[in-house]
Symmetry: C2
Subunit: 240 residues, 2 copies
């Protein structure tokens, strides 16, 4: 199987690692397209959503329009590529990818979509080379899943960033929070997040909340986020 | 060691489990105080911050004022108990506690504070019965740590709650996110959260962000949180 991966960001970097030894894979610089092969079985565009159409347009100038081209976006619809190629697909691996952080690719769900059963079967074969969890999903539902993943991963990680920076300024070691953070995740296996909610907001403990907001008076960004998420917790967990 | 734990919420419930077999421990209903012993070595008040002073006042009517009384709050200062008892302390276990979810207590950091070396040594002995990580910390820094733990645990868990409810409405299985959530946490061992940030906001991928906000137009609560956290990520990670 000849696979050309266009883009060398986090996702492109990991797809190259994942396919290495399992397919004839080439990494293509999205700026130059210099390494592009003209006869690959599938072209996987792995760039920022902002850039997908521009890359597809340039690929269209270089490749036969009968080539099979897919993108890796959670949010862009399948038809984003339809004006450039006759055979298009989506190949969306649901994971947080950072270069040089190893992953067990077999556990990563890959969501696929295409217009024809033949192309879907090819996508499924390609995804099956690296993952045990290949799932068909339409563009609308994939976007909903992507939104949920932004909440569950990107925003979560940013809260940790804010906590780390706050503690660094106070010269308190962020690693003191590690057992707490690990247990927060571990508990998800036992309880729904709704049932596992703890902290001042779910207790409607106004004394603690006011005291925290007072302590955060020099940190308007954190206190804005604190207020909004506290109100959201309180409204979802009414006082008993 | 005679330990009376006042309060049967999540923390009180877990302290009772933790001390069982390691001390002579009694759980006291904070409403009735019916089981209270008059001669315990330490009284640990484990109730909502709103209620600590009221409980201390009622204990003061029942106990000799020379008794040693501590609270488990991350945020209330040590001196919150000083008007009621001559010997006071703080015994703050940093963890997310849900009843019936087992924990390895030895890994939980316990932050202690008191006015005298003798009481501090008693607190340290009591904490050492259940944890390998007993740490002295003053009230101001403990409150900062508590704020960071609200960001890192309570708010994180709430984002998972919002994601789960959103996916449930769309009839998408929340468990599809589990590998992502686990990797988000696991990655913290390899990279600082700042360096591990991924997603549309850190890429300044406006196309994805607008598309998500449009999809969230019927979910004003989620879209408010989405906007605020996206702006916070963008401002902390300027476009390269």
């Amino acid at each position: 199987m000849q696979i050309d991966i266009i883009g060398r960001g986090n996702v492109g970097w990991h797809l190259l690692q994942a396919f290495a030894g399992k397919a004839d894979v080439v990494s293509v610089d999205s700026k130059s397209l210099a390494e592009l092969r003209l006869d690959a079985d599938i072209y996987i565009i792995s760039v920022s959503d902002n850039a997908i159409e521009e890359i597809a347009r340039r690929l269209n100038e270089l490749l036969d329009s009968s080539r099979f081209v897919a993108h890796t976006s959670g949010t862009m619809p399948l038809d984003a590529l339809d004006s450039f190629f006759g055979r298009t697909g989506v190949f969306y691996p649901l994971q947080t990818f950072s270069k040089n952080v190893n992953l067990d690719y077999r556990e990563i769900p890959i969501f696929i979509e295409s217009h024809s059963p033949e192309d879907e079967s090819l996508l499924s074969e390609v995804a099956g080379l690296i993952s045990n969890k290949v799932i068909r999903m339409d563009s609308q539902r994939r976007k909903d899943l992507h939104i949920a993943s932004v909440l569950s991963c990107n925003f979560v990680n940013h809260l940790w960033t804010l906590a780390e920076r706050y503690l660094n300024e106070k010269e308190i070691d962020f690693s003191l929070l590690r057992p707490l953070i690990e247990e927060t995740t571990r508990k998800l296996k036992r309880l729904s997040p709704y049932d596992g909610q703890t902290g001042p907001a779910v207790r409607h403990d106004n004394k603690t909340i006011s005291s925290h907001l007072q302590q955060l008076s020099d940190y308007p960004e954190i206190s804005g986020i604190y207020t909004m998420l506290t109100e959201s917790i309180e409204s979802l967990h009414p006082k008993k």
